[in-house]
Structures are given as structure tokens and as C-alpha cells.
């Protein structure tokens, strides 16, 4: 390994990145765009769910219940209609996700039997939102029902304490206290950015030399295959680390995601992940000697598993067992797990020993394979 040749190679590659508008766009604009698009676009929270109401009774009691819905941040009561047909139309045309029907005998039943049904219709097209709105609606109604009960007991002159059998759950949420899905997703986006930028840029690097005919000259010089690989990847490694820093700054200062871990652990794991990504991109570029094909395949083998199987947005615990087994092979899984832990839990490298080891093993194996991928002959 000659430092002179290594530096010459890195320097040349760096000049080429800086001078190529396409590479610059990928290196600088892509991370920002991805952070913004995914940071704002992917939200698993349901807030301001649009609600239509069909209040058949229009009594004081029914209005009291509806007020609860109006007061909830989860619901946005948009309109009151006067028929099921209108409700059906509103759901069909996506004007509301949830409809509440209060029967004409609501208050009478409540008074006479102490039991009154209320109908809630949920648009189940998007199961996630449907589940959430169902849950929120139940909660709102349960609270109302508890208050009605409470008032009744008071009016009967019974002491509140007499209503026994009440177990109160005192929930404390750790790490993502506000249950913001953004806090859960954004750390994972860093992995997506690394996979996208790293794989895209490196997949072009060797293919470009073949396409432009500069490879033959390169091969006729004394440079060794590992010098070609390292010399070419060092600039991309630096670009990747800079992008990681950019993502970190945006996530903390722009999106307000808490960062509780140490910078050292963040950059150490990012470096390992980058080695894997760059090594894969390089090997693809060596194997497929044209830029378009190489970049397509690079995206397929890095971005796809990272976005679907890393658990960045789609929790691995909820995947079917077979798919869950596959995720153990996806290197991004370990990185995403570590990132989320560093951001939200602030745990150190020690607590993440297994994941760190898996990532390090991946980096070592891919790195080794990459040094062997490039051969200095034309045939």
C-alpha cells in the first residue's frame, strides 16, 4: 500500500465529485430532501381525524357527548348531517374517517335503563388510522360514560369512595414521552440517507471509468487493486460522514428530535454502516460496468431492504415470523436499532453490544470482499 498512490487516487476522485453536478446534487441536496420529505411526510400519528355526526336526538345529553369529541385533539368534528345516506356519502367521498350516530332515544335510555348505545362508524381503508380512531373514540366515550356514572352516584348521595373496584392505570411513557411518531422515524431516516447517497455515488465510480475509457490507462499503472478501492472510497466515506452530520443537525435542530446519546457512538456506528454500504456499491460497480445498471442495482440491494426491513418505520416485531427472520440478514436493521437507541434512549455502545458486533462483522466481511472484487486485467 503506497500512500503516494492512495492520495493521488483520492484526490482525483474528490476533484471529480466536486466538478460533477450530478454527484454534488446526490451528496448535498439528496440528504436534505430526504430528511424533509420523510420527516414531514411519514407520520404514523392520527390527529384531527375528520368526524361527521348524525345526532338523531339533539338533546342536552347528546350535545354533551359531542362536545367531548370537539374538545379532543384527535378529532375534528366537521359537520352534522341528518341522514345515514349523507353519512355514507361523506365516508365514500373521504370527507370523514369516522362518523358518530346518536340514536333518538339516547337520553331516555340512559335515564331509564342506565345503558345507552352510541354508534361509531369507522373507515377501515387505512387500518392504522382506523385502529387509532376507534381507540380514541372508545376512550372519549368511556370517559363521558364514567362522568355520567359519577354524577349519578353523587346525586344518589353515595360517597365516591363507595364505588369500589376501580383500578387506575398510571402510565408513564419512556424515551419518546410525547409518543411522537416523528421521533421514532427520523433516526431511521439517517440510515436511509446513508444507504441512498453512499450506494448511489460509489456504484458509479468504477462503472464511470469503464464507460469513459479511462480504466485502461489506470490499469496500466502500478496502482494495486486495494489502492484503487481505498483511494476511491475514502472521498465517499468523507462525504457520507458529512451527510450523517448534516442529518443529525437537521433532526435535532429542525425537527426537534431528542438526541440523548454521545456523538462518538453515533459516528462510530455510522462509520461501520458506511463501510458496508460503500463496499456493496463498489462491488456492484466493479461487476456491472455501466453507470445506469450499477446505480439501479445498488438502490435495489441497499435502499430497498433499508426502507422495508430495517424497522425504521415498520416495526420488526409486528412482521410475520418468516420476514422477521430475514431482517436479521439486513445489515441496516442493526444500524437502525442502534440509531434509535442512541437518539431516544441515550444508551452507550455497551448496551448495544450485539448489534454493534453484527454491524462490525458485516463491515469486515464486505470490506474484505470489496478488496478482492477488483481485478487489474481486461479479460
Amino acid at each position: 500500500m503506497s500512500p503516494r498512490r492512495l492520495i493521488a487516487m483520492s484526490r482525483k476522485e474528490f476533484i471529480q465529485i466536486v466538478r460533477d453536478p450530478r454527484s454534488l446534487l446526490i451528496a448535498l441536496l439528496m440528504p436534505v430532501m430526504q430528511m424533509v420529505l420523510l420527516g414531514y411526510g411519514v407520520s404514523l400519528d392520527a390527529k384531527n381525524i375528520p368526524v361527521y355526526v348524525y345526532d338523531q336526538e339533539g338533546s342536552q345529553d347528546s350535545q354533551a357527548l359531542l362536545k367531548r369529541f370537539q374538545a379532543s385533539p384527535y378529532f375534528d368534528v366537521r359537520k352534522t348531517v341528518n341522514s345515514y345516506r349523507d353519512l355514507r356519502y361523506a365516508i365514500d367521498s373521504d370527507r370523514c374517517k369516522l362518523a358518530i350516530v346518536i340514536p333518538f332515544d339516547f337520553s331516555r335510555k340512559l335515564r331509564d335503563t342506565g345503558f345507552a348505545p352510541v354508534q361509531v362508524i369507522v373507515d377501515g381503508t387505512d387500518d392504522n388510522t382506523a385502529n387509532l380512531s376507534k381507540g380514541y373514540a372508545r376512550a372519549v366515550i368511556a370517559r363521558f360514560s364514567a362522568d355520567v356514572q359519577h354524577n349519578w352516584l353523587q346525586r344518589q348521595g353515595m360517597p365516591i369512595a363507595a364505588s369500589n373496584g376501580n383500578i387506575s392505570v398510571d402510565t408513564r411513557i419512556w424515551f419518546n414521552e410525547d409518543l411522537e411518531s416523528r421521533n421514532f422515524i427520523i433516526p431511521g431516516i439517517v440510515a436511509l440517507v446513508m444507504a441512498l447517497v453512499g450506494a448511489l455515488l460509489t456504484s458509479l465510480t468504477i462503472a464511470r471509468e469503464w464507460e469513459r475509457g479511462t480504466m485502461e490507462q489506470l490499469l496500466s499503472t502500478p496502482i494495486t487493486p486495494s489502492e484503487v478501492m481505498l483511494g476511491k472510497l475514502i472521498p465517499y466515506f468523507m462525504v457520507g460522514m458529512a451527510d450523517a452530520a448534516l442529518c443529525l443537525m437537521m433532526s435535532v435542530w429542525w425537527f426537534g428530535v431528542p438526541f440523548r446519546g454521545t456523538l462518538a457512538s453515533f459516528f462510530t456506528t455510522t462509520a461501520l454502516f458506511l463501510i458496508v454500504i460503500l463496499g456493496i456499491g463498489f462491488m456492484i460497480s466493479v461487476a456491472i460496468r455501466n453507470q445506469l445498471g450499477a446505480s439501479m442495482i445498488a438502490l435495489l440491494v441497499t435502499l430497498m431492504p433499508t426502507s422495508l426491513l430495517s424497522g425504521y418505520a415498520f416495526p420488526i416485531d409486528q412482521m410475520p415470523a418468516a420476514v422477521r427472520a430475514i431482517t436479521y440478514l439486513v445489515y441496516s436493521r442493526y444500524y437502525v436499532t442502534i440509531l434509535k437507541a442512541i437518539y431516544l434512549k441515550g444508551v452507550g455502545v455497551k448496551a448495544l453490544g450485539a448489534e454493534m458486533t453484527a454491524l462490525a462483522v458485516y463491515a469486515a466481511v464486505i470490506g474484505l470482499l470489496a478488496t478482492r472484487a477488483f481485478r487489474k486485467t481486461l479479460d
Partner: protein, 320 residues
């Protein structure tokens, strides 16, 4: 002939196969220090393949190749420090400045930092690119690009220089300048391999290897090769119409070969004196006007036409 100690390249029984296709077929030759060795032949003759094998870019299928004392088949990397190579296609970086290209290759060849600056300046003046050091290489004209590529290939002062069709697509003026540079190299003891399909350029070489379809057809100095045609004599015929004249001549007794050269015919005959009398009469009798017919000195192109013709005759027909 110089003695063995001065041999810088020795190729013996070299065969290169790509699948079932034999691109280079039992080629043997030697090159001596400071010699300009020309590879001559049509496209697909195997010139580039031989040069790439000598540079260690392709592995020989059979035979031994010793370049600068290194067995290239066994140690393709070992030869790299001793050689400079200019591939057929321009292969410097168009998006790098002239000086950046030079600095890059100086680095790759491991030229000592202390002397790299001087070498780069020399290369720039050799290419005549003073004042253009910071131009993007892609913006240079063809001749300048070629000379810059040569400058890059010489940065580490190689003993042997391989130039694969260095002047293709370059204007005649620049070709001339380029050959002056090549002669300068050989004067300094650098062995130069040049492949070309320009016959006129072949005359600038010390020795020539004529290749056709992967085989060496003939080898020697330009005068030696021309002498090969001296079996018989060569006549230049200007006739009207040319095509008919060619057909008639190719079948005539006493005519070994006839070929079109520009707007006239080169006719190889067994006996010049007889032919000068009989051919015009015969052509006139078949309705072809013979404007002039005179003996000429054989060019290398004639040599090539003759030798390639003999080779295909041996192989059974001009085209497989």
C-alpha cells in the same frame, strides 16, 4: 543485429484466444533497446491485443512474453513500473485540468515528490501546453490531447513505451509533431512500440511487424520489406474505366496481382519489360483506355497487399 543484452522485449509463440476465437496466433518477435517497432495491419489484425498482453492488461493463453526482464504471463504487475502505455481511445480524465491529470498519473506511477514538479513541467512543454495548465482536458484539441497523453505515459521515465494507434483521428500536422516526439524518445534509449494503420507512418519505424488476422505476416526494416516485393516488378497503371481494367488485369497471364490505389492501379508483374508492351495493347483491345503505365518503387502498402494476399491464399480464400 544487436546482441541479446539489448533485448527489451521477447515474445515467443504467443497465442491469445477469446473463447473459440483466436485473436493472436503463434506470434514471436523481439525488440531491442531504443528501437521503434511498428505494428502494421488492418483493424482486427491483433495489434492492440498484442500490445495489451505486453502491458500485462490481458493474460496470454500460450507462449512466453518477457518485457524488461519480467515474465508478463506470471507477473503482470511487475512490468508496470517499466512501461508507459497509451491506449487506442483517449483515456485521460476530461473533467480534470491538464495539470491535475499529470499530477494524478505522477502519483500513480509513484514519481518522487521532489522531482514530480519538474517532470510535470517537462510533460507540459513536450505537449506544447504552456499556458494551458489549468484548462479542462476535455476542451483540448485532438493533437494536444494525444501529446498530453504521451506526456502522462512518460512521467515515470519508462524503458518501454507502448502506443496503440496514437495518431488515429489526429490532423496530419499534429501527427508529424507526434512522430518527432517518438523519435526523440527512441534517441534517449526508450524502446517504442507503435501500432498504426497509416502506411505512411510505418516508414518512420526502425522495424516493422506486419500482422493480419492474428498472425505475423512479415517482419523487417521498411527497405527489407519493400525488397520482398522485388520478386517481379510493380507497375502503376492509369486506366479508364478503372473497374473493368482491374477485372481484366487480375486474370491476365504474367500478372501476379492487381489492386486499386487511389485513382490508379498497382500491377505486380513477373517481367516489367514484356508487360509494358503487352498490357496496354491487351487493355486497348478490350475497350479500356490505358492513359499511362510505368514502373514504380513498391510502397509498404504494396507489400502488405501482397503478403496478406498470400496468407489468405494459404488459408483458402480471402474471407472465411
Amino acid at each position: 543485429m544487436p546482441n541479446d543484452g539489448n533485448i527489451s522485449v521477447r515474445v515467443d509463440g504467443l497465442v491469445k484466444r477469446f473463447g473459440s476465437f483466436t485473436a493472436v496466433d503463434r506470434v514471436s518477435f523481439s525488440a531491442y533497446r531504443g528501437e521503434i517497432l511498428g505494428f502494421l495491419g488492418p483493424n482486427g489484425a491483433g495489434k492492440s491485443t498484442v500490445i495489451r498482453i505486453l502491458c500485462g492488461l490481458l493474460r496470454p493463453s500460450e507462449g512466453s512474453v518477457i518485457v524488461a526482464g519480467v515474465d508478463v504471463g506470471k507477473d503482470p504487475e511487475g512490468v508496470r513500473h517499466h512501461i508507459g502505455y497509451m491506449s487506442q481511445k483517449f483515456s485521460l480524465y476530461n473533467d480534470l485540468e491538464v495539470s491535475e491529470n499529470l499530477r494524478f498519473f505522477a502519483g500513480l506511477y509513484g514519481v518522487d515528490r521532489g522531482i514530480a514538479g519538474d517532470r510535470i513541467r517537462e510533460a507540459i512543454s513536450l505537449a506544447g501546453l504552456q499556458g494551458h495548465e489549468h484548462d479542462l482536458t476535455g476542451t483540448l484539441a485532438g493533437g494536444w490531447k494525444q501529446r498530453l497523453a504521451l506526456g502522462c505515459a512518460l512521467l515515470h521515465r519508462p524503458e518501454i513505451l507502448f502506443l496503440d494507434e496514437p495518431t488515429s483521428g489526429v490532423d496530419p500536422m499534429s501527427r508529424r509533431q507526434f512522430w518527432d516526439l517518438i523519435h526523440g524518445m527512441s534517441g534517449r534509449g526508450v524502446t517504442v512500440f507503435v501500432s498504426t494503420h497509416y502506411m505512411d507512418e510505418a516508414e518512420y519505424c526502425d522495424r516493422l511487424v506486419l500482422m493480419n488476422r492474428g498472425r505475423v505476416v512479415a517482419m523487417g526494416t521498411p527497405p527489407e520489406l519493400r525488397h520482398l516485393v522485388k520478386k517481379g516488378a510493380l507497375l502503376l497503371a492509369k486506366c479508364e474505366p478503372l473497374g473493368t481494367a482491374l477485372q481484366i488485369l487480375q486474370g491476365s497471364p504474367g500478372v501476379a496481382e492487381a489492386a486499386v490505389f487511389g485513382n490508379s492501379l498497382h500491377v505486380r508483374v513477373e517481367q516489367a519489360e514484356d508487360a509494358l508492351v503487352t498490357l496496354p495493347a491487351m487493355l486497348e483491345s478490350r475497350g479500356v483506355k490505358c492513359v499511362s503505365l510505368k514502373p514504380i518503387e513498391a510502397s509498404l502498402e504494396d507489400v502488405f497487399v501482397q503478403l496478406a494476399g498470400e496468407q489468405s491464399a494459404v488459408r483458402g480464400g480471402p474471407d472465411r
